[in-house]
């Protein structure tokens, strides 16, 4: 256990006397009856055991040296000797102990002794070996899970004591000095401290008493979740960002893991905490984007905290708007360390699930649509950001899916308008950046496929069966090709456009047919109007331009007022804006 033993001289003397008396008594116990033979042998054995301890006890009384047993004095530098040190202070004597240790359950006295030493000992000396650190982490875990031991420890070292902060800072020094990168021994002690402090309301008050790096390590060990975790993490990073009152933070170096890395990695594993963190930190965007050594942690944080399937749009807006404004307005005076991920690319991580709010829904976030459009263009001027936006399209599917184009079989006019405007703005943004290569083509093809599938999935039952039969194969045609096409090459691009045209024609026809049926039901169009839609003719067309002309001709020919025709044209344009953006309108 420790290599030492401690004893109370008076009690040992008393034990020795009792041992001698017991041994004498056992020696006298005998019986000649054959049925007592086994019992007598047991008595002889017991006598030998008891008698065998007497010389050792006698030597201890004299404080004499024996083989392996040498008088010793315990100092306060070894945490594992906390109990013996306390006993020594109480008048006990110490000896080296050559016997191999046996596990002994921790007692309340042990916990008090540990508390004493941690409260008043030289922390650096107490934690100066891996053996002591391992031992301490085990002891703290034991204490944390036993109310009596915890109470005993607190008698000597309250959980509100700033000694815990000093201990954490010392552990941080050891952790940062680990040249082999193995920090598990130190991290285990943090886990132990976290377990002890977990239930204490004072834990959060300790953060300002220690290095932010130490506070981050402690926070990751406290088991906090959700908003309290996010809020505490933001507070710790804010303090790091503001800087120390003097000198430098312990992790203030241009290399290695820093406070932000620890915090981001931990907070990103808890979506609610990540959102809460970003709500606090978004007032200081540079703090989010420039304080971590590993920017992949920023990426993880943004993805978790702005998950469009979990976070309300208004909450996302409170985070994204100030950040995007900073990204697009920021001066070039920021440190220009070449990062593995550009700030703009990181920003796209949070933008891509919320693309609609850079178009039709911009006003929900207090932006004028033109402003949102302009800021999006600025962000994707960065090549990496542009590539990310294209690649991140899948994440946007969640938001698109939540925009019901049909509700109970009826076209959602408002959603259709939003979609049309967002398409239009995205189209222009990409055109402005001259992103008409394979990546952009694939982006719009994917976008078109999603919309087309959404529409086809809601194919109105009243649509003439012949039309549906013709249209469905065209809409699903080319799906296989989409997944395997490389992003460049004129032939490939043309094939992509063909696939998209096919889909867009199908989608536009479905939409116009659905709107026609709907307007008929409302009395805005005469009964039977939908039968005038030349679905078979559209199916024979080989370009979006021809299909658009045929659909426009149908719209212009319906017996309706100008408002009804405009409504039909809006629906058509919502879909056909995409082909236009890619210069598919070969006729100009």
């Amino acid at each position: 256990m420790s290599g030492f033993m401690g004893y109370c001289p008076e009690a040992v003397r008393s034990l020795r006397i009792a041992m001698q008396a017991a041994a004498a008594e056992l020696r006298e116990l005998t019986c000649s009856d054959p049925d007592a033979a086994v019992a007598v042998r047991s008595v002889r054995s017991a006598h030998a055991v008891v008698d065998g301890w007497v010389p050792l006890l006698a030597q201890l009384e004299r404080c004499g040296v024996m083989d392996g047993y040498v008088p010793a004095v315990i100092d306060a530098s070894d945490l594992r000797l906390a109990s013996l040190f306390a006993l020594q202070n109480g008048g006990w004597r110490m000896m080296t102990d050559p016997v191999a240790s046996l596990h002994r359950p921790m007692t309340a006295d042990d916990a008090r002794a540990l508390g004493d030493l941690l409260a008043s000992g030289d922390i650096r000396a107490l934690l100066d070996s891996d053996a002591e650190l391992s031992w301490l982490s085990g002891q703290l875990q034991t204490v944390a899970h036993d109310d009596l031991l915890l109470a005993a420890l607190e008698e000597r070292l309250p959980r509100s004591s700033t000694r815990w902060a000093g201990m954490c800072d010392e552990l941080t020094v050891i952790r940062l000095a680990a040249t082999d990168g193995n920090t598990s021994v130190v991290d285990d002690v943090f886990t132990g401290i976290g377990a002890v402090l977990r239930a204490s309301s004072d834990a959060g008050r300790l953060f300002p008493e220690m290095e932010p790096y130490s506070a981050a390590l402690l926070l990751t060990s406290l088991g906090w979740q959700g908003a309290p975790l996010g809020s505490a993490a933001a507070s710790i990073l804010q303090r790091w960002w503001d800087g120390p009152t003097s000198g430098e933070w312990i992790d203030d170096a241009p290399w290695g893991e820093q406070t932000a890395d620890l915090l981001f990695r931990h907070v990103a594993s808890d979506r609610a905490a990540a959102t809460e963190f970003l709500l606090h930190a978004s007032a200081y965007p540079p703090m989010i984007f420039t304080s971590a050594a590993d920017r992949s942690t920023v990426d993880a944080l943004l993805a978790a905290g702005l998950d469009s399937s979990q976070v309300a749009a208004d909450v996302a807006g409170r985070i994204i708007v100030p950040i995007v404004e900073w990204v697009t307005d920021r001066a070039d005076s920021l440190p220009t360390v070449v990062p593995e991920i550009s700030i703009e690319a990181l920003a796209v991580t949070m933008i891509s699930p919320w693309l609609m709010h850079f178009g039709a829904l911009a006003n929900e976030w207090g932006w004028e649509p033109d402003e949102a459009d302009a800021r999006l263009r600025t962000v994707i001027e960065d090549g990496a950001a542009n590539a990310r936006l294209v690649a991140g399209l899948e994440r946007w599917a969640g938001e698109l899916a939540s925009l019901p184009l049909f509700v109970d079989g009826v076209v959602n006019d408002e959603a259709l308008d939003d979609l049309a405007e967002t398409f239009w703005r995205l189209t222009n943004a990409f055109e402005h950046e001259e992103i008409a290569d394979g990546d952009a083509a694939r982006f719009f093809v994917d976008l078109a496929v999603m919309v087309a599938d959404e529409l086809i999935g809601h194919l109105p039952g009243k649509l003439p069966q012949a039309g549906a039969d013709v249209m469905m194969p065209r809409v699903v045609d080319g799906l296989e090709a989409l997944g395997i096409l490389p992003p460049d090459g004129e032939t490939v691009r043309e094939r992509e456009h063909d696939v998209m045209e096919t889909r867009m024609v199908g989608a536009a026809t479905v939409l116009v047919a659905a709107l026609t049926i709907q307007l008929t039901a409302r009395g805005a169009l005469p009964e039977g109007t939908v039968s005038r839609l030349d679905v078979a003719g559209i199916a024979r067309d080989h370009s979006a331009v021809a299909a658009r002309d045929r659909l426009l001709a149908f719209i212009e020919g319906v017996d309706a007022d100008a408002a009804t025709r405009r409504h039909l044209r809006t629906g058509l344009n919502a879909i056909l804006n995409v082909p236009y953006a890619l210069d598919l309108d070969e006729e100009g």
Binding site: M5, Y7, A18, L29, C31, V43, A46, L87, M95
Partner: protein, 101 residues
């Protein structure tokens, strides 16, 4: 008649001897249970000394206590067996026992 009477006397003597042996075993059992060695472990705990050697001492003294208690139990069991034999020897008219011998 003489034969029967003689056998009855032997049986009574045997039963008395069995009872005497049983009494000696019970006496030893009582002395074992009362010996100081049974209580030594109480003096060898953390109030007296702590460490690996003291832990081993405490373990051994607890083993001593269990050994002596087991020995006492075995003596009591042997005593009961002898008393049972004495009882059956004297109460069965004794002739069966004597004839058998």
């Amino acid at each position: 008649m003489h034969l029967i009477s003689s056998v009855g006397d032997d049986a009574a003597a045997d039963a008395a001897e069995l009872r005497a042996r049983a009494a000696r075993l019970r006496s030893l059992s009582r002395r074992l249970r009362a010996t100081r060695a049974m209580q030594l472990f109480r003096r060898a705990g953390a109030d007296t000394w702590v460490g690996a050697t003291p832990s081993r001492c405490l373990d051994e003294l607890e083993h001593v206590r269990r050994t002596i208690a087991t020995a006492a139990d075995e003596l009591d069991a042997a005593a009961r067996r002898l008393e049972s034999q004495a009882m059956s020897g004297s109460s069965g008219g004794g002739s069966g026992v004597a004839i058998a011998r």
